[in-house]
């Protein structure tokens, strides 16, 4: 018999970034017994690293902005693979969610007339991002954290959840995990579970993501019988640091480009003018003069090509480097020093200034930065109901990066923080409604608990076995080399073979030391989720034989209209686990109603 402590709640929320906090706030405000569970300390989740801002069509800077324009930008950015209803709700509700943050104490930068200032970002027609310098994520997570504390939400910090638990009828009824500080096991029973576990980037070598981004929610939902969609759609942010090697991948905000920074190759050329896809040609400047006029007044010129959606910019940088026109350390140059005053740069981009000064010894007010693509964001995720965040298994709700559909095949900058707020709120409501309507006491399956605990503790029992750090490095090399920004069928097949081997080895991990705050063991328990998600990404990438948004196939370089009508859906019908079979197949995406489809016709 496994030993564990137990807790009982109406709603448990797993993950305490923006989405999880917002969901917990909603459930707690409704008077439900609510627990918020996170792998790190409260306030340290990956949301804290978000820099640029929260996209919301408030119209404070450009009154002509409205939800229809934001909706249209989002859908076009996602190459129309988005769930239209999610994109619509997101565009409609983001302004209210931002205003709400202000009422909870957030201090956004202001316009001259005292309203919330909005900045330009890639793919957004108007200046739309509410922000605080380049530390908007910190402002958001702190505001939500302080709100959750004021509401007296129960927080379980440094608590790793291993698996979701269902009852005899297959309804999600809780979760099992362990306290990192002691290694002691803990079981939660709950009437509804919200997954807000964030991203998957730690499976790649060069990533902007923190250690927490191991796809726990994606994997746990799949294991519990939920559908995942479009897992091949991974965003490589165009501008990560490339040097020194130890900081390679750390994010350089798109705000640098929104505030006037430009990309140049080794020859000094603003190469983005050479990479304007037909879809965006009409609204993109075709000369440097025109692009530069736009910054001061959006009616005086068209948008600079540096502000195309991220997938376009990342591919362009990749091509320039491959063609031998890269910077000394294998990136390109991002130059704001020659275009804006040192005072302006330090005021608008204070953390970029410090980041480069302290980590790379580069003064960004005097010299250009070296940047290159870095694994940043998972557009795919758990298939959810747009209104409630409900997954395809009862009792489970998913929001934030763990949920799929909202961003299609490519996310616009700034749409993540707004996604967290809009769908964190909605999943919190959905879970609360479900919990209120659920009768009886949730009874998590005892055998699932026993099995999960035994599996988690097995690495301590083995006399000999694999080093978890080494397996993790091999996984990162595999995904970086074979399932990166540009993919081919052969390499994806190779990746699947290597992943099978790593899954086999992950079943033989050995760790030494005790259970109390043991990072080797913690990593060992993260590996099953990382490997599961990596298999899903690779399978999706193999089967989507086209290029769309964040998914680029060298052997299928064009978008295929037939693939544009389907989500690739993955599920585990015969038992959940990293080594179990994954079924994958196309299913039609929901069709947009005519009044929304009209927004994409000419004249808009």
């Amino acid at each position: 018999m496994a030993e564990y402590e137990t807790h009982d709640y109406d709603v448990i929320v797993i993950g305490a970034g923006g989405a999880g906090l917002r969901a917990a706030i909603e459930a707690k405000s409704r008077g439900l017994r609510t627990a918020l569970i996170c792998k790190s300390l409260l306030g340290k989740a990956h949301t804290v690293m978000a820099e640029g801002g929260i996209a919301a069509a408030m119209g404070n800077v450009y009154p002509e902005d409205n939800w229809q324009v934001h909706f249209r930008d989002t859908m076009r950015g996602g190459k129309m693979l988005n769930n239209w209803r999610m994109a619509q709700l997101h565009a409609q509700e983001a302004p209210e969610r931002v205003q709400e943050l202000e009422a909870w104490g957030a201090l956004f930068d202001r316009t001259a007339d005292g309203r919330i200032l909005q900045r330009d970002f890639g793919g957004h027609r108007y200046a739309r991002l509410a922000h605080v310098g380049d530390r908007t994520g910190l402002e958001m997570i702190r505001t939500l954290q302080q709100r959750a504390v004021a509401l007296d939400v129960d927080v379980f910090m440094e608590c790793k959840i291993l698996r979701l638990l269902s009852d005899a009828d297959g309804v999600i009824s809780g979760a099992v995990g362990y306290w990192r500080a002691t290694g002691d096991m803990v079981v939660f029973s709950a009437k509804a579970v919200v997954l807000a576990t964030g991203g998957v980037g730690k499976s790649w070598k060069y990533t902007s993501n923190s250690w927490e981004c191991t796809g726990d929610g994606h994997a746990m939902a799949l294991w519990a019988g939920a559908d995942l969609i479009d897992m091949e759609c991974v965003q490589f942010h165009p501008t990560g640091m490339v040097w020194p090697l130890s900081v390679r991948g750390i994010l350089v905000t798109e705000g640098v480009r929104g505030d006037g920074g430009v990309l140049r190759n080794a020859e000094g050329r603003r190469f983005m003018f050479d990479y304007v896809a037909d879809m965006f040609r009409e609204e993109t400047a075709d000369s440097e003069e025109e692009a530069d006029r736009w910054y001061a007044d959006h009616s005086a010129g068209r948008r600079p090509p540096e502000l195309l959606p991220r997938d376009e910019v990342a591919r362009a940088i990749n091509t320039e480097v491959k063609a031998g026109r890269g910077s000394p350390h294998g990136g390109v140059f991002l130059d704001i020093a020659s275009r804006r005053s040192p005072e302006y740069i330090r005021r608008r981009l204070p953390s970029m200034y410090h980041q480069f000064m302290e980590l790379a010894g580069v003064d960004i007010t005097a010299e250009p930065m070296e940047v290159g693509p870095t694994c940043h964001y998972m557009m795919g995720g758990v298939r959810v109901d747009a209104e409630t965040g409900a997954a395809t298994v009862p009792g489970l709700f998913v929001c934030g990066e763990a949920a799929g559909g909202m961003h299609g095949s490519n996310r616009l900058g700034g749409n993540s923080l707004s996604d967290l707020l809009v769908f964190g709120y909605r999943a919190g409501m959905g879970a609360s409604d479900y919990a209120e309507g659920r009768t009886g006491t949730p009874a998590p399956n005892q055998a699932e608990i026993e099995h999960t605990v035994a599996e988690a503790l097995a690495p301590f029992e083995r006399d000999d076995g694999e080093n978890p750090y080494e397996l993790h490095h091999r996984l990162q090399d595999t995904m970086q080399d074979l399932v990166g920004i540009i993919r081919t069928g052969d390499e994806l097949d190779q990746a699947l073979e290597r992943l099978d081997e790593l899954v086999f080895l992950a079943g033989k991990v050995k760790v030494t030391g005790g259970r109390a705050y043991n990072p080797a063991w913690n990593l060992a328990t993260d590996l099953p989720a990382m490997l599961t998600v990596s298999r899903c990404v690779t399978l999706g990438a193999r089967d989507r034989r086209e290029s769309r948004g964040g998914h680029t196939r060298e052997d299928y370089p064009n978008a295929d209209p037939e693939f544009g009508k389907v989500n690739l859906v993955q599920r585990q019908p015969s038992g959940g686990g990293m080594a179990e079979e994954i079924k994958i197949g196309p299913e039609p995406i929901p069709e947009m109603p005519p009044e929304l489809a009209a927004l994409f016709e000419e004249g808009h």
């Binding site: 804290v48 202000e102 005292g114 302080q146 504390v149 500080a181 923190s210 250690w211 980590l359 080797a520």
Partner: protein, 259 residues
């Protein structure tokens, strides 16, 4: 650059411990956290440390490096003096294991802060001038690394003070709310009685270690002390308030409000 780095990392738990020495080949551009990660991967898999963002934004990896509280992710090896580098956990908080300390004290203090209480939102949203929120924005840069708490000698060497002292991190939180143009709570008596503002004797140790360069003492603690003293002891101000009947919520009412 030396060919080898020598790290002395504190290993142990609440029952005691000692520095363990690790030798690794040097690598260009590394920060202390990179070396700790390499020790984990190659020599001591169970070496405990906290970290998240590795970019100076989350405040998880605070430690005492060569005796000074710093973020491990923002401390470059090549900018430390030649010779062995010592890495120890923050001393003010109880040890969990190795470099990880129990910082729950801070999360308990956070619960004592009466929340932001604005008036109802007007049509079209609140209006605030940039100049009126800049001080608050300075304080909201705080990444909660708790190094100011670690270095504050009111609690660093006086465990008994923790029961009635909020510490610099929370003085800037109080200051941010007190200076917020829309806030209606009054936290001055709470600061004087419960949060021990008077115990701070402005040695500025907190300001020196702040990785966000927040002027904790000058911009938060000293102005708060002035406000608290004005409220509690200035007879002219008391008279003025009584005559003008300027009404702000009392700390108790404030604490009840919004909870």
């Amino acid at each position: 650059m030396a060919a080898e780095v020598v790290m002395r990392v504190w290993r142990g738990d609440s029952s005691g411990g000692a520095f363990a020495e690790y030798r690794l080949p040097a690598q260009e551009g590394e920060v202390v956290l990179d070396v700790v990660h390499r020790i984990q991967a190659t020599q001591a898999g169970d070496l405990a440390c906290r970290w998240n963002c590795k970019a100076g934004k989350c405040g998880s990896c605070s430690a005492e490096i060569n005796g000074t509280p710093r973020l491990m992710c923002m401390t470059r090896m090549d900018q430390l003096p030649e010779g062995p580098v010592t890495v120890a956990p923050m001393r003010t908080f109880p040890i969990i294991r190795d470099l990880v300390t129990d910082v729950s004290f801070n999360f308990e203090v956070a619960k004592q802060v009466p929340p932001f209480a604005p008036p109802p939102r007007p049509e079209g949203g609140y209006r605030m001038a940039q100049v009126d929120i800049e001080r608050g924005q300075e304080f909201r840069k705080c990444i909660e690394c708790f190094m100011c708490q670690d270095v504050c000698h009111v609690i660093r060497d006086h465990e008994e003070n923790k029961a009635h002292y909020a510490g610099p991190r929370f003085f800037i939180r109080f200051a941010e709310l007190e200076m917020h143009p829309l806030d209606t709570n009054d936290r001055r008596e709470l600061l004087r009685q419960r949060e021990g503002l008077g115990l701070c004797n402005i040695t500025k140790c907190c300001t020196e270690v702040c990785p966000e360069h927040i002027k904790i003492t000058d911009n938060a603690i000293i102005p708060l002390k002035e406000r608290v003293v004005d409220a509690a002891y200035d007879p002219v101000a008391w008279l003025g308030r009584t005559i003008l009947r300027r009404r702000k919520a009392s700390p108790n009412e404030a604490a009840a409000h919004g909870r």
